[in-house]
């Protein structure tokens, strides 16, 4: 990052979980459909705060950056995103709730 020493490169292989495949597909489809450019996504990855840049995984960076890009483009609004995130959170909480007998 920013010309700092990167340390040793450790190549690893892993299976892509479903959500990573979906993020990849969304970026490609939005790009091919002319809704966003890969350059905007790159810019928004570079704009992540240093701690986020260091700690997020590859596709976590992509989804953060894609979300920012969609808000900048006016394709989704911050309010819509907030509502949806709450909705999903509720769903996950309800699913995780212990079953009473």
């Amino acid at each position: 990052m920013g010309g700092l020493p990167a340390g040793k490169v450790e190549p690893t292989e892993h299976d892509y979980p479903e959500w990573e495949r979906r993020v990849d597909a969304m970026v490609q489809l939005l790009r091919l459909g002319g809704k966003i450019t890969v350059d905007e996504v790159r810019k928004n990855i570079e704009a992540l705060p240093p701690e986020a840049y260091d700690n997020l995984s590859y596709y976590e960076k992509w989804i953060s950056s894609l979300t920012q890009t969609l808000i900048q483009r006016g394709i989704i609004s911050t309010a819509e995103l907030g509502r949806k995130m709450q909705e999903v959170e509720m769903r996950v909480q309800n699913r995780a709730a212990p079953v009473r007998d």
Partner: protein, 105 residues
């Protein structure tokens, strides 16, 4: 000089030819930049004209990046870029750089 890839964007005319010596601008403005930091200020040689493409610095800011800018593959000697380089003196690194980042050396 024939570009490697023909595109039909309205484009700036190429200013450099194969074999020209060029210096990469040594500057670090804000914005989204595709010119690697480590190569800025170094001198290389035009290896080919890749074609002319919309400016990524503009595309990143949601503008159309036109007129398209000639993009060159520039060849640098590893030894010149990394003074402590241990490999053969003939080793090179090739980087694709947009014309507005290059000046005649």
């Amino acid at each position: 000089m024939q570009p490697q890839f023909a595109t039909d964007y309205p484009a700036l005319a190429p200013s450099f030819s194969v074999g020209d010596r060029v210096r990469v601008r040594a500057t670090a403005p804000l914005g989204h930049i595709r010119t690697p930091f480590y190569i800025r200020g170094h001198v290389g040689e035009i290896e080919r004209l890749c074609g002319s493409f919309p400016n990524p610095e503009e595309l990143a800011q949601m503008r159309n990046g036109l007129p398209a800018i000639p993009l060159y593959r520039v060849r640098f000697r590893q030894k010149e870029v990394w003074p402590d380089y241990k490999g053969p003196a003939t080793d090179v690194v090739e980087i694709e750089i947009f014309q507005h980042w290059l000046e005649r050396a």
